[in-house]
Point group: C6
């Protein structure tokens, strides 16, 4: 089946970082199947988009019954991620946000890097941690409660902060050293655990530095949301109404006339973290 | 065999959270069998209820000989759970309480959520911990002794409190970080143990926060029981007489004319924990 | 072979807590065999008693040659257990005491609960610990020496005290929390070790509480023995002479005219531990 | 082959504590073989003695070439054990001492208990530790040097002292508790290691108590040797000349006219350890 | 196929330390293949060089699309390694530097030792650590950011510093002792982990010494780059233009007329680390 | 093939401590082979010596290309071992020193004990540690640098010192106790690791005592070398020239007329370590 004229391969490629050959083949087959089911004569861009999401995030679970409370919660949580991701300089562009459950998650904010990355700068990592904490920040500030749904975000943020300190030498306090030795490939050919080969005194310093990175990023996420709380409410409302928003829709919802102001104020603060 | 008109599928569904296909099939077969044994022409709601309890909680062990002391103890223990569960705002409705031994337990208080939950709020978790501690609270206040029967409740309450602090970022003291790294799938494809990757200093803070959550919930459970100690005695007496009580019976026993007052006083205190 | 008229099944049943079907079959066969060997026409109560002891405690080892010193020691040790068990309120009735070696042990004090227990109260557990320490107390007070024979008693007393603190929430200092996480079913389907998931600070508190429970129980056991030292000497002498004593004989030896006094003084102290 | 008239079964039996049936059969065969090789008509006491030593301690290694220095060292080491064992009240009688190498050891002091022991008193254990340290004490006082040959003695003395504190409740400081939990039967059905389940604070106390027991026993051993240093020299000289000494020879060498005095002075000190 | 006249076996040999027979055979085959593909009549030096790089570092990945930002970053990172390696006395000569990605790395600075080394001096090890830290130093000083790309350099620098302290007795603070015991050959015949057999107090000293070595080397690398920042810019520009530079080209880029001055100033500082 | 008249079996035997039957057979075969290759009619002493070295130390690797720097380093390192070994009272006689690489080592100093030893005195062990540290001492004093080549010496010296403190009771500070429990025979029938069963407080004391033994021995080795630095230079020069030296040559190089003086000054200091 031929590919329709509207298919933009570059946009598709950007949306599939980390895809291996089998994933790509999988996506093309899914797209062709979707087009065939609808009696189309060519595979269109929407077919590829849906196929990509299915491969990337698992099957949509539209039949799942979710209470209004949890839907509301999820909408604000994802709006938090999206708002922070859209406002941080150095962040990858926001491609899509949805509160349709897929696989194991109730919602998703998806960013697309402009090109493949092989290394990450300290600024980019701090930005990623701040975006990860945007969901919990929105919950806490608007809903005045915290949910278990943020657990995975916090785990990933903590892990990134720990690696910044222990593997990538990004803490001035601990210097350009690495901490913890990986135990390699025993039994089943995989790393099992980091082996702690440092003193308790060093362990305390590591904890303090990891804490400093995560809590200062959390403060920044909360500040961004407070300063743009109206945009957050608009995003959450739109999500509750439409369930999914693409990058263009997100921009229209967030930006009235104060976009540039926020960006500038942020860039001035950037150096302090 | 046809299903009787009195069968309310929605109530059944709410009572079976976490049931997989095999469990449901199992329940339907048990219900049909029970109806057949009694020579019924259709499977009635009571058959489904009994079948559900059997699948959910194991076979009733009516032949087990339990001393009057232990029966009394169990009645007050379960009455404690039930009273706290019924009085806490945010708690799932109480469906049933029984002191007929089933499987490994001497009694049971069963709550039915109004709908499936995929995430839990901090308030809901604190409520759950308080309910879990309601049994021991009743033992201690009324019987002036503590039994080993509460061990499982305490273990579950501690585990929830620890997860609030270490996995779900719900302690202000420790912030939006996670603590402890799971060791994955060695040998037999399952998590074995949390890997402690933090300092002793952090371990002390975690212990303090977990302790604060559990002991303040315990204080709340004890306060609720003291303020409603007559309702507790009425519940325990009814249990010793009838062995099982459903949600409607529980409400009739607990509430005279002071229901709303308790609820209000609680809601005012809610924010402090 | 018929069962004799003197067989009291209720007494037999109380003496076999934890017996499974195979154990019961085993006991009945042994009893029949014993009766047959003596040319009896029916299986009498004494046959059942002997059969039960054999299944419960292993074969009597009458041929074992034990020095007079060790026999004396064992007699005072068992007399200590028996005296404390008989004097403590809340203790299960004492059924038998013997210094005939059986299996791995040189002597045995056997209590029979009046009915099956599924949970244990804090009072009952403190009583059990005090009885376990009664043997060593007698050794120390009368013989002015300590033997390795008490090692197993101390281990069980310590384990009970540790569970009171760490699993059953019975220490006010540590509160209604549990400590230590069980590692489940690795390799051969069994728990291997408690996983220590708490700080050193908490470990110190646990040690202090466990120590407090065991040492205060030890003080109580010693006090009981000092106040009734004549009864202890009478019990030990009777054991050295007859080797075994049943519940009725024990009562006759212990109680002259001061029984009730002891009981009352104890009940007054009970609340302090 | 018949047994000679001089064979004293009681003495043989005392010298074989812990022998199982196979060991006994082994010893009898060896004795018969020895007698046959010498063309004897009956198996004599000396044949049984030699056979027992072979089963108990391994084959004599008379061909092993040992330097005069090491022989001298061994003689004083064994004389130290022997002297202390002979002078301590509560010690089992000394049966034999030898500097003929056997199996893994260069020399041996053998005590024979007067009867089987199933439990050990604190006094007996302190005596055993003091005897174990008698070898090193002699080395240090007379030869002014310490050898690696005492390593095994020290290990056994430390282990006994640790068990006194951790398993048998014989330290007043730590009380009638046990410390450390045995990990049972993993993989190959055997205990692997003691599981440390106590705090560092308790570990420090245990170390101090174990140290107190071993060092005070060491002081006692050294004092005994200093007060009887002439007997030590006489014993070592006799060993260098004859290589082996039996109990009667040992007594003749040690005791002139001051035996009772030593015993009395010791008994007065006994209570202080 | 014959070997061309321009092939210098000694240079090839120096560039293949650690090659085993199979690696050498592999290299020769690859070189012959490359020559054959180009229709050459003999295998030339360039063929051997390319074949060696392929065996040593993996296949070139010229098709990998790398953003201009990351290319720039890599160029300054490698220029940092190269500049430090070229300026340190005691360093092995720099053979080549490239920003063509190969295998897992985005760039590479290759040094060739003048002859095989079987042992390493403290000076040589400090030099190696300083060169390893040259990449991160350049990133930090010129780009004012830190990337994850330096993680592997930091790990190797830390490991060398730790071995200097723990295995090679090169810290005056800790003296000529070794720390940590290797666990040998369990299960699959390989070392698994260093066994920590020292106190926390010693662990703190080790951490301090390792830190001192790495941070003082880092200071030296940064000082060298600051003093020669123009050479760094020239090297990075040339790399961005030509992608690879050989030893001769590197020398031409770095050295105008101030070479000797730098060398001298360094040699004076050398003793202080 | 017959054995030549010059073969001195006693010297051969002294040079093969720890040889088992297979090693001896191996040596005899190698010697016969060597003699046969040279067309000899009998196996001479030199054949046995070469065969012994091959079995003991691995094949000579004369073809290995070693830089002049490393050869120089090795010569001073081995000269250091040799000089200290020759000057220490209580040391075994020096048989040979070589800088021909064999197996894994670049050089070797070989001592031959005058007779088999089954135990070691504290003096002998301190002497061994001092000799092990003689190589690093020579490097540091003469070459003003430290190499990784001494790593194995330091490991063995540390291990001996640790055993003196933890297994052989040779530290006054820690007394006649042992520390650490061996874990036996798991999985593959071998000890895996010492099990640390003592407190952190004890671990600190052990570290201090081990450190004291090693550093005081190091000071003694350095003092010996400083006082005899001319002999060290003569030894190193001779090694660079001849590659191997036997005991007689070593004596001629070291001793002019000041031998006895050194020995005496050492014996006076001996007691202080």
């Amino acid at each position: 089946m031929p590919v329709a004229n509207d298919v933009d391969l570059q946009v598709l490629a950007r949306g599939t970082p980390g895809f291996c050959g089998a994933d790509l083949a999988n996506m093309v087959n899914e797209a062709a199947l979707l087009a065939a089911r609808q009696g189309k004569k060519s595979v269109e861009m929407t077919d590829f988009e849906q196929a990509k999401d299915k491969v990337l995030m698992g099957v949509e679970r539209k039949s799942m019954i979710i209470s209004q409370d949890e839907k509301n919660n999820t909408a604000f949580h994802e709006a938090g991620h999206t708002l922070v991701a859209r406002l941080m300089p150095h962040a990858d562009p926001v491609h899509k946000v949805t509160i349709i459950p897929r696989g194991m998650s109730l919602g998703l904010t998806q960013q697309l890097p402009l090109n493949d990355k092989y290394t990450y700068t300290k600024d980019y990592l701090l930005t990623s941690i701040t975006i990860l904490l945007g969901g919990r920040s929105a919950e806490e500030l608007v809903l005045k409660d915290r949910t278990t749904g943020a657990g995975n975000d916090l785990e990933r943020a903590t892990e990134l902060a720990r690696k910044m300190v222990c593997e990538w030498g990004m803490s001035d306090e601990l210097g350009p050293l690495t901490f913890g030795k990986k135990e390699e490939q025993i039994f089943l050919g995989r790393e099992i655990a980091q082996h702690r080969d440092y003193s308790e005194e060093t362990a305390i310093k590591i904890d303090q530095e990891v804490n400093k990175i995560v809590t200062s990023s959390y403060e920044k996420a909360k500040r961004l949301i407070i300063e743009n709380v109206n945009a957050l409410h608009r995003l959450a409302s739109a999500l509750l109404e439409k369930e999914s928003l693409d990058g263009k829709e997100i921009d229209e919802i967030i930006f009235g006339n104060n976009t540039l102001v926020v960006q500038e104020s942020l860039q001035m603060e950037e150096g302090k973290v």
